[in-house]
């Protein structure tokens, strides 16, 4: 290979990401870039082309990453190769964000011209700064009536500490400022500088499973060259594979003879399962290995667990197969079989966070057509037993007998809540009520405050975020990071239906809140569970002590009175609807319980979790 030509090519590569808060217009901006670089013919443009899954499009969030190669003919007459690396926009996926940022030399920071800098933006900008990226601020949506670019510029300078004088003013929707931005990418973002002759060092920043080719890795080559036929090794787990294909996404896969230092592309090597590869791991050659891996590897660990059960227990195998399929594309999803007395056979699944959990649940129901019962999300508790051992408990019903427990620890997070100053009081009141411990408070400017609290993760999982949104009129944003375990006065609360304890409804609560929460749950269940053919008592209990009780009255009358002048099909429809509704319920002992009841235990009404 001609090293000179390769070096010349390397000089014309620019690798960058777009960092933005959800809704600040990242996907639209990416679409405009694709359009302007003629990567996608305009007539083929489907709005927001980088977000491929339906769910992503619906929720306006990006889950899987994409790296697209674009050719840009610059004003200086030269042609540049751009690699646009898309990043997920949610805190649950911050590790994936950090890995894709590590594949870049620069980042475009998109800030909404009206809303300004948000906590989420900050978190990702810090990740970008952490990766030594050159940052180009772009103020988007300047066509909005409420746009205030000068204020936003000041925010960028004060809150983030980067120059914003020459920020690009853009409207991705209207196509304003896009070309300026592309020119700035060439002038501001450095070309990659990796040594083409050094041993191969490439970072895996994403992976997807393809049923024909096996796992397809998204990689950034830092040093050396990789081509089909090479024997490669994963530096973390030591596994070796033979490369079958390399190429770039443009945005469809285009085969290449090799990928070299500076390139961002894909690689396949007949890798059978996604668990063999980990995002953040480094690829090198078996016979000429790199000395050091790319820094920053971290094992992704689930934070939130819940039980997933098929409503129809004969669908257990289908659920397992569907979870396996999802795991092919989601290295962070974990699951293992578990059994519940109430719900039968199912899986205890681990997720990076609540959004991740919601997304998986929805995909199972939508793509695989499964009716599921989800138990309330739980964190992992550490039970310190009297015999000196420690037990990890991800399922509340498995909490050991109180008599054998010395103490219980729960995960705490370092939560940073960014909020306009007028809501500081409300935030502190809420955090206090949720067992938070105040750390510091920082005025970012006259009007924005960053309030730091130490909070139990379980409270965040419960309803903290919803309460935060409602008590700050939606202005607050939350970012959090696990900081470790602390001892708390926790107890297991059981729920009894018709006198029988239902394991799937057990939860771990703080002693001081147990009575109140017990009443809430019992009341909620009373409303959610339809009348049965007999009266059903609903009780909350700690050990043998009943702390709350309500009765679901017996069904007294349910018979269609009339025949509608011989319109039998109408009657049939009604009966079929009733029957279908019943099938979606789970028989617990002799009580029919609707799916929502199982979620009710740890969620308040109208819960919209971190969806947007």
């Amino acid at each position: 290979m001609d090293i000179k030509a390769m070096q010349e090519r390397q000089k014309h590569i620019r690798n960058f990401s777009i960092v933005a808060h959800i809704d600040h217009g990242k996907s639209t901006l990416a679409d405009r870039i694709l359009e302007l670089t003629h990567t996608v013919a305009k007539r083929n443009m489907e709005a927001q082309i980088l977000d491929t899954m339906d769910l992503e499009r619906e929720r306006g969030i990006t889950i899987k990453l994409n790296a697209v190669e674009l050719a840009y003919h610059a004003k200086n007459g030269q042609t540049y190769t751009f690699h646009l690396i898309d990043t997920p926009g949610h805190v649950d996926f911050s590790y994936e964000v950090s890995r894709s940022l590590a594949a870049c030399e620069g980042a475009i920071l998109v800030v909404d011209a009206a809303q300004g800098v948000e906590a989420q933006t900050l978190a990702n900008v810090y990740l970008a700064i952490d990766n030594d990226l050159e940052i180009i601020p772009v103020i988007n949506k300047i066509d909005l009536p409420a746009a205030d670019p000068d204020r936003v510029k000041a925010e960028i300078e004060n809150d983030i500490g980067i120059e914003a004088d020459d920020a690009v003013l853009a409207s991705a929707k209207q196509g304003i400022g896009i070309e300026d931005m592309l020119e700035r990418i060439i002038t501001d973002i450095p070309a990659p500088s990796g040594d083409l002759t050094a041993p191969l060092k490439a970072l895996i920043f994403d992976s997807v499973y393809d049923s024909y080719r096996g796992v397809v890795l998204s990689i950034r080559v830092f040093e050396g060259v990789v081509k089909p036929g090479d024997q490669i090794k994963l530096m973390q787990n030591g596994k070796t594979f033979e490369v079958t294909e390399v190429g770039v996404m443009s945005p469809k896969a285009v085969k290449r003879d090799y990928l070299m230092a500076g390139d961002v592309g894909y690689l396949t090597a007949s890798i059978k399962t996604i668990q063999d590869t980990e995002v953040g791991d480094t690829l090198t050659l078996v016979d000429n290995p790199a000395q050091k891996a790319v820094r920053g590897y971290r094992k992704m660990k689930p934070m939130v667990y819940c039980g997933l059960y098929p409503v129809d227990s004969s669908k257990y195998n289908e659920l397992r197969e569907s979870l396996e399929k999802l795991r092919l594309n989601d290295a962070a999803l974990t699951f293992e079989p578990e059994t519940s007395e109430a719900l039968g056979f199912g899986f205890r699944c681990g997720f990076l966070g609540l959004l991740h959990m919601d997304v998986i649940q929805e995909r199972l129901e939508r793509e695989f057509d499964l009716d599921l019962i989800t138990t309330a999300p739980s964190v992992i508790y550490h039970a310190n037993l009297a015999d000196g051992t420690q037990k990890e408990v991800a399922n509340p019903s498995e909490m050991p007998d109180p008599g054998t427990i010395d103490s219980i620890e729960e995960p705490f997070v370092h939560a940073s809540i960014m909020v306009p100053s007028e809501f500081v009081g409300a935030v502190m009141e809420l955090a206090q009520a949720k067992r938070g411990e105040f750390d510091t408070m920082e005025y970012l400017n006259n009007n924005r405050v960053n309030v730091i609290y130490h909070l139990p993760l379980s409270e965040i999982v419960y309803d903290f975020f919803d309460k935060l949104k409602s008590s700050t009129k939606g202005y607050a944003s939350l970012d959090y990071e696990i900081e470790g375990y602390r001892q708390s006065k926790l107890v297991k609360m059981d729920i009894l239906l018709n006198g029988e304890s239902v394991d799937a409804l057990s939860s771990i609560v703080h002693q001081d809140f147990a009575a109140e929460r017990g009443r809430e749950i019992v009341d909620k269940l009373r409303k959610l569970i339809p009348r049965q053919q007999f009266e059903v008592p609903v009780q909350a209990a700690i050990g043998n002590k009943i702390i709350a009780r309500a009765n679901i009255k017996a069904l007294r009358k349910n018979v269609l009175a009339k025949c509608y002048g011989g319109d039998i099909s109408r009657k049939r429809k009604l009966l079929e609807k009733q029957k279908k509704g019943k099938k979606r319920m789970k028989q617990i002992g002799s009580v029919e319980v609707p799916q929502e009841a199982f979620m009710a235990v740890l969620r308040t009404d109208e819960t919209e979790t971190h969806k947007k």
Partner: protein
């Protein structure tokens, strides 16, 4: 095979707050054209079934009694001429306030109508007002006196319970007043909240104070007891009669037998096909003007649905479903298909059985839908 015909008159002078049957305000409607087309439909459809004879006729609505004397005369004489009906039960639905004089009643009687179904709903004037009825209880007495004077003896009235703000005492009073009229037949229905009604609208805004399910059940129990004590035996979930006065036409539905449906939105069941006519008046009239039948949809019942209907309709009757008839009709025993279902329902006290029949227990009558659903076939029955 017993066959009936239902004739739908979709016009009303006033729309009741709970009704979502196919109906429109009378004013400005092409009523005369409708009657012409209705008769045309009867000619077209009966010509296709030359072997069918009709055992019962039923004119319902809407408000059939809202037609003028002249219109009634034309409709009824036309029907008698066209339809292969040579006597048998002939029912006409009427509002009390259309029977305050005897002129319409006379036309009905002269044309062979021999059963009246009068929409009384309640004897409490406040309640009548609240549910959008325009008649008052005094009208009911006048209407029934007139009907008897003209010669009608087979008269039925409807009562509704679980009405907004209705109490157990209100309903008890209405039942007593109804029974005091000493009619041979009564129907009583609990309110069904339907979409596209005033009530549904109120309910959505939280402004429909309906009695609780417990009160509803108590009201139903009260009706069962009072009618039984008065010698009006229950023969169907909502129907009560002196022996010999059971509605032959309604029994056709529950026995899963055949009937024509004439008129806008009417349903029929012929051969293995259930069909329904276009509901909107113009959509109903247009094909008939062009000499075509106004059928909106047809559904050929698969065997499974015929079986289900035999049961969920048949079980509405006090007599229940006959096992031998079932086996003869479908070629296998009820037990071979529903053995488990029946056992389960019997164990839950909802169903009873002997060698000949299965039928609802008293508890089963209250929870009929629980029973009917169980007879719907699906992959895991």
């Amino acid at each position: 095979m017993t066959t009936g015909a239902y004739v739908h008159i979709p016009f009303c002078q006033h729309i009741c707050y709970y009704c979502n049957f196919n109906k429109v305000f009378l004013a400005g409607q092409p009523v005369d054209d409708y009657i012409t087309c209705l008769l045309k439909e009867m000619r077209l459809v009966t010509a296709a079934y030359p072997e069918k004879k009709l055992n019962t006729l039923y004119i319902g609505g809407g408000t059939p009694s809202a037609l003028t004397v002249k219109q009634l005369e034309r409709l009824l004489s036309g029907m008698r001429e066209i339809l292969p009906f040579s006597g048998g039960e002939f029912t006409f639905e009427a509002n009390p306030n259309d029977l305050l004089t005897t002129d319409k009643l006379k036309v009905l009687f002269a044309n062979g109508v021999n059963r009246l179904s009068i929409g009384v709903q309640s004897f409490n004037d406040d309640i009548l007002k609240r549910i959008g009825r325009t008649h008052r209880s005094a009208d009911v007495y006048q209407a029934i006196a007139n009907a008897r004077k003209v010669g009608f003896d087979n008269i039925s009235i409807d009562l509704i319970f679980k009405l907004p703000k209705q109490t157990q005492a209100d309903f008890a009073a209405s039942l007593d007043q109804a029974i005091a009229l000493d009619l041979p037949h009564y129907s009583t229905y609990s309110l069904i909240l339907e979409r596209q009604t005033v009530f549904y609208n109120l309910m959505r805004r939280g402004r429909l104070p309906l009695p609780s399910q417990d009160t509803e059940a108590d009201m139903y129990a009260l009706a069962l007891n009072k009618f039984s004590a008065a010698g009006r035996q229950q023969y169907e979930i909502s129907n009560f009669a002196q022996p010999g006065y059971e509605s032959q036409h309604n029994l056709i539905y529950w026995r899963n037998q055949q009937y024509f449906g004439f008129g806008a939105g009417a349903s029929g069941y012929l051969g293995k096909t259930r069909y329904q006519n276009f509901g909107p008046i113009q959509q109903y009239l247009t094909p008939l003007h062009a000499g075509r039948v106004p059928v909106f949809r047809r559904h050929v019942l698969p065997r499974s649905e015929q079986i289900e209907e035999q049961l969920f309709l048949g079980l509405r009757m006090k007599a229940g479903v006959n096992k031998q008839q079932f086996a003869t009709k479908f070629g296998f025993s009820m037990a071979s298909l529903y053995g488990n279902v029946i056992r389960r329902l019997v164990a839950r006290g909802l169903l009873a059985e002997d060698h000949q029949h299965i039928w609802l227990t008293r508890r089963g009558e209250f929870l009929g839908n629980e029973v009917f659903q169980a007879f719907l076939l699906d992959s895991d029955t």
